[in-house]
């Protein structure tokens, strides 16, 4: 098992860096190109969801074991930005693309998102 952790401020300009890192980790995990692209979409959507809830940073923990597990936790919460219709779409995309996507709440607010991508037989 390999664990890779990335802590990042939640800002638009760092999304590319996060997506590229995610792509690299997906490759280490042996995911297919399609799953890697889907995983990148899921990580981006998760970060957007946290950003819209006022988190200023997030820690992403990738666990490489029979595929890839991803856990994204919001950090340093301030005022909520906005949570419009696009957030609903983001959550639905996560559930459509990843296995076992879970959006955990604390005191009624989203705080952590987990999902995984398994290896295809």
């Amino acid at each position: 098992m390999k664990e890779i952790r990335l802590t990042t401020p939640l800002s638009g300009e760092l999304m590319t860096t996060v997506r590229l890192t995610t792509g690299g980790v997906c490759s280490v995990a042996g995911l297919s190109m399609d799953d890697s692209e889907d995983c990148k979409v899921c990580v981006t959507e998760s970060l957007l969801l946290l950003m819209h809830r006022g988190y200023n940073a997030a820690q992403i923990a990738f666990t490489v074991e029979n595929g890839l597990g991803v856990e994204i936790e919001g950090q340093n919460k301030t005022e909520r930005e906005s949570a419009g219709q696009e957030d609903e779409i983001s959550a639905a995309i996560l559930c459509a693309l990843a296995e076992n996507a879970v959006l955990e709440k604390k005191d009624g607010e989203l705080c952590r998102i987990t999902f995984r991508f398994g290896l295809q037989a």
Partner: protein, 242 residues
């Protein structure tokens, strides 16, 4: 009318006007989702069309009495259709060529910017110049350039070259056979159909661009394309049997 009433009215009457009203109301979801999948070698226009068609189908399938919001129902439906589209055709046909072309454009743009500014450009500057995302530039750069077959694949290897470790190329004769079969199949197409094939698979234009060049609607291009692919499939299947 609210959503529930709109769907109930459409279900009861089958009135296309009501269906169109629903589709127009939710077309933004098709647009949002299409944008999320851009950068995988398929243009936004094509993805938007796939998403819009999925939305149209979704309106017919949605059951408002089940207590689920339409947006909740339609997002995975459209996402699934987009993924099917990728799986069926995009990657094998478009990506390698697009990457190769983008690498050439990147090199040219980098030289131009260096000439203009006197310093080596960043990925962001090249992306802005070419009108593509910064990520696409970085991924393309990562895809690697031309490497000598005499080079060693890694530093620790025991002197083996790429030439020695890479698998043999596919049978050249088989490749010639395949090319002949495709050429013969293409001869069964009309001039207009051939033009479409050239625009879509030669120049890799989007359906919208192809429609503009051919002076027809995008829907027409989509229908023609489906018909052509079916025709080619049948012809090629026959030639394989023979």
């Amino acid at each position: 009318m609210n959503d529930g009433e709109l769907f109930a009215a459409y279900r009861a009457t089958g009135d296309i006007k009501i269906r169109n009203e629903i589709v127009e109301k939710y077309l933004y979801i098709a647009s949002v989702l299409a944008k999320k999948f851009v950068g995988r070698g398929v243009e936004y226009d094509d993805l938007y069309q796939v998403a819009s068609l999925a939305l149209l189908k979704g309106v017919d399938r949605f059951d408002e009495t089940k207590g689920v919001q339409f947006s909740t129902f339609i997002t995975p439906t459209i996402t699934g259709e987009i993924k099917n589209y990728f799986r069926d055709r995009s990657r094998l046909v478009h990506l390698p060529r697009r990457v190769a072309e983008l690498r050439i454009s990147m090199k040219r743009a980098a030289e131009e910017i260096t000439k203009e500014t006197g310093k080596r450009p960043s990925a962001k500057e090249i992306a802005e110049r070419l009108g593509v995302s910064e990520e696409e530039i970085l991924r393309c750069a990562e895809a690697g350039g031309v490497v000598s077959l005499d080079n060693s694949p890694d530093r620790d290897s025991d002197g083996m070259s790429f030439h020695e470790v890479l698998p043999a190329v596919d049978d050249v004769f088989e490749e010639v056979d395949n090319r002949d079969a495709v050429n013969s199949a293409l001869k069964t197409l009309t001039e207009e159909e051939l033009a479409l094939v050239r625009y879509r698979f030669g120049a890799e234009l989007s359906q919208v661009e192809t429609a503009k060049r051919m002076g027809v609607s995008q829907m027409n291009v989509s229908r023609m394309e489906r018909k052509i692919l079916q025709k080619l499939k049948v012809t090629l299947a026959k030639s394989l049997v023979e």
